[in-house]
Amino acid sequence: MGVHGIISYGAYIPRGSLLRSSIVEFTGKGSNKGSRSVASYDENTTTMGVEAARNALKGSESNPKKLWFSTVVPAYLDKTNATNIHSALQLDDFVEAVDFGNSTRSAMGALSNALESDDSTLVVTADLRTGPSGGTEESSGGDASTALLIGTDKQGVLLAEYLGGVAITSDFTDRWRVPGSSYSQVWEERFGEQAYKPLVDRAWSEALKKLDIKTEDISVALVSGLHSRAVARSIPSLDVDISNDLTDQIGNTGAAHPSLLLANFLDQAKPNEIVALIVLADGCDVLFFRTTQEVENRRNSFPVSEQIENQSTVPYSKYLSWRGLLDSQLPNRPSPTRPSSSAAMRRNDWKMGFVASKDTTTGIVHMPPSRIGIKGGGIDDMEQLPMADSIGTIETFTVDNLVYSPNSPVVFAVVNFEDGGRLPVELTDTDPEKIEIGDRVEMTFRCLYTADGIHNYFWKARPIRREREKS
């Protein structure tokens, strides 16, 4: 068995940031304070999940036996979204990939169950929150994803040990969403506030008693819940230091938020710190962790705070159009057709995993993979070469104002990779006027478009967000 805990972690905050003042400017409603994170037009919960998961897996040599993905906004129903993440990460076929759906609480359920499991589990969460224009759901929500590699100290060196926790379940309808709706409705605010407060008190005292932990031993508590007033009301009686919950900067990222706070904590934690994670969702969950000596050695390769600093402002009109809340005029070109499922399956390693082929005789890297090399050689004289982490350089580029795109113009570059090979590829998370020949780019997993309900996942390049981790 061994001690359970967190082996590595990753978080992903999209580049887009929407100033709440820009919502007020347009709608005349709400508060000017702060901003919220916004997933780009080519992102969904699955692609964001891939970003966080890649980040987490970079932090460890260990590989998970299970992949659990939890979101309130699944890209597909019926079809498992975790399998898309699984193939983007190029995990072994015997890694079980399943979705945890419906409610934000499922994300906590996935985490607490993984912490009790003897199999190492990559717990991925993502959320993409919208609401009616000018309302609180819109301005207080945020988009983000996280990934925690959970396991025992036998499966990997732990950054934080799991000390245990409690969960209280309570059935009341303070927020709800019917399937098919893109946002939630809420009951009168004071109701939830008063419903949650006693739950938090009970869960907290029960957890302290069960685990024999004193409040003075606790470095900090991370408190997360979509009901911000309930969170604020519950905090005083905890009698511990409370961490900044990031909602001023990125909004509340729903299903992703509890583990995002955990990731942010681990970014800065010292060894032997006890942290409490308290989550208000259809009851109250309390989990305790204690950091190990290792926590200072293996931080997230891209800390949450730095991702927030690197965000770039998105105009409200663009946010509305990206979320499909505003019809935008697109170039007068035919919209793309759905990708072929059978063709996609045959080339899954390329399409989802960005795996190239390398000619074993000439050493030339072929993207897409090729059975016969461009400089001769036999048929199938190739080996697979994963390229998702390879850095590229822009050889030349162009800006296409004519081609169909949900976000015209398309910036397109011919990219040569440091591991060999070339690919003409679309750029994302960039400003056309800032691109120059010679710029360095990294690959990111995106949804190129959705046609007939099929998400066309593939990779794009974006300007490298920071130089590679020293590791």
Binding site: S340, W350, K351, P368, N401, L402, F412, L448
Partner: protein, 397 residues
């Protein structure tokens, strides 16, 4: 590799070409009938006496039936040909080889395209089911990659190249304005083009081929039979096609300043025709100016000038109607318009007029030095391209 060619074995004895443009009032069948009728009249032959047909269309129809039906060809071999934008010249190549082989005495190549029924701007290919990872960029954007690459390689300022590209459009519009069949018959200055908003890279809409409906046709027979049909046949000197292996999109060394498929096709064509110094031995050239930068680097790839000098030669007027080697004397794709399947044959149509001395006086070229002309037609994009180069001459050598 053997490439023997069929120099002087086959002759074009009749040609026809419709006007190119937005023919809202004409169907594909109407265009086919018009081009066929003009070609048969010019050769003095009826369609039922022509032995075989090759029908070039890229996206307007799918089989030979689409030619046999409007022309009511009964019991004839009719083959649909497709090779991207080089479809028209490919259909002529097939017809010429069929006659040269002895299989048929006569053949017609007819290229036609009806693009303006789609409701969209530009050209739109049939969607083939794929894994969804293929590039979806417009052709304009792909060809716009040439400018910054050329600027970097040869140390020419990008703004200078922007002007050079516009200067090519100015030339082709000058020629097109003297062509009653052309889509655009208005002169425009390079300066004005430079002021226009860009649509892809630095290219404006005036750097792009006109999107047009149209059709063109040629009738070919064995060279020894040519004078039964016309006093002034055009003899096929060379026909070459190269389909690239798309390595430019894979090979980090490919730098977008050259179109290797075109250079190889040209070399093969010169070999077939026995041409050593193209600039001196050709009276003119019709080349595939799908976008203005394409024409610029083609001047180098076709061997009309040294690498890195085309931009200067364009400014010097070397390829103007009265230049050393006039290029796109009919206005090219730019001004004549580009009905995909017809364009290759339209280029031959211009050589047909010029080498027979039938071009209008205000755009006729000098035939004193040479009576041979080159036709270059390509399909695809820099890095993944099919290229055709053909050479015709007014005399047997």
């Amino acid at each position: 590799m053997a490439s023997h060619g069929i120099k002087d074995q086959v002759a074009i004895v009749g040609m026809g070409c419709t006007s190119f443009g937005e023919h809202w009032d004409k169907s594909l069948d109407d265009l086919i009938i018009e081009a066929s009728e003009k070609a048969t009249k010019s050769a003095g032959i009826e369609t039922d006496l022509i032995d075989a047909y090759w029908f070039g269309t890229s996206q307007s129809a799918a089989s030979g039936i689409a030619l046999a039906t409007p022309l009511r060809l009964s019991g004839k071999p009719v083959t649909r040909v497709e090779n991207y934008c080089a479809t028209g010249s490919e259909s002529l190549r097939q017809a010429c080889y069929a006659v040269a082989s002895g299989a048929y005495d006569s053949a017609m190549a007819l290229g036609a395209e009806k693009v303006k029924d789609s409701g969209y701007q530009g050209l739109n290919a049939f969607p083939v089911p794929t894994d969804g990872t293929n590039r979806t960029l417009t052709a304009a954007a792909m060809f716009s990659l040439i400018i910054p690459a050329y600027a970097k390689r040869y140390g020419v300022d990008e703004d200078e190249l922007r002007y050079v590209a516009a200067r090519i459009a100015q030339k082709n519009h000058f020629n097109g304005s003297r062509n009653e069949l052309a889509q655009f018959r208005r002169e425009i200055s390079a300066e004005k083009i430079c002021e226009m908003p860009s649509i892809a890279g630095c290219l404006s809409v005036m750097d792009c081929a006109g999107v047009a409906d149209g059709a063109a046709a040629a009738i070919v027979v064995r060279a020894e039979d040519a004078h039964k049909y016309t006093d002034k046949p055009l003899y096929i000197k060379a026909l070459s096609v190269v389909a690239g292996d798309s390595s430019g999109l894979v090979d980090p060394d490919f730098d977008f300043t050259t179109l290797p498929e075109c250079a190889v096709a040209a070399e093969d064509a010169y070999m077939q025709a026995g041409i050593k110094e193209p600039r001196k031995e050709l009276a003119m050239a019709e080349v595939h100016d799908c976008f203005t930068p394409t024409e610029m680097i083609l001047m180098e790839d076709l061997g009309f000038c040294e690498k890195g000098t085309a931009w200067q030669e364009v400014l010097d007027g070397s390829f103007d109607i009265d230049g050393e080697i006039p290029v796109n004397t009919d206005g090219g794709l730019k001004a004549f318009g580009h009905p995909v399947g017809a364009s290759g044959l339209r280029m031959f149509y211009e050589t047909w007029l010029q080498l027979r001395g039938e071009a209008p006086a205000d755009r006729s070229i000098s035939l004193e030095q040479s009576q041979q002309a080159l036709v270059h037609n390509l399909g695809g994009y820099p890095g993944e391209m099919v290229s055709f180069v053909g050479i015709v001459g007014a005399e047997l050598s």
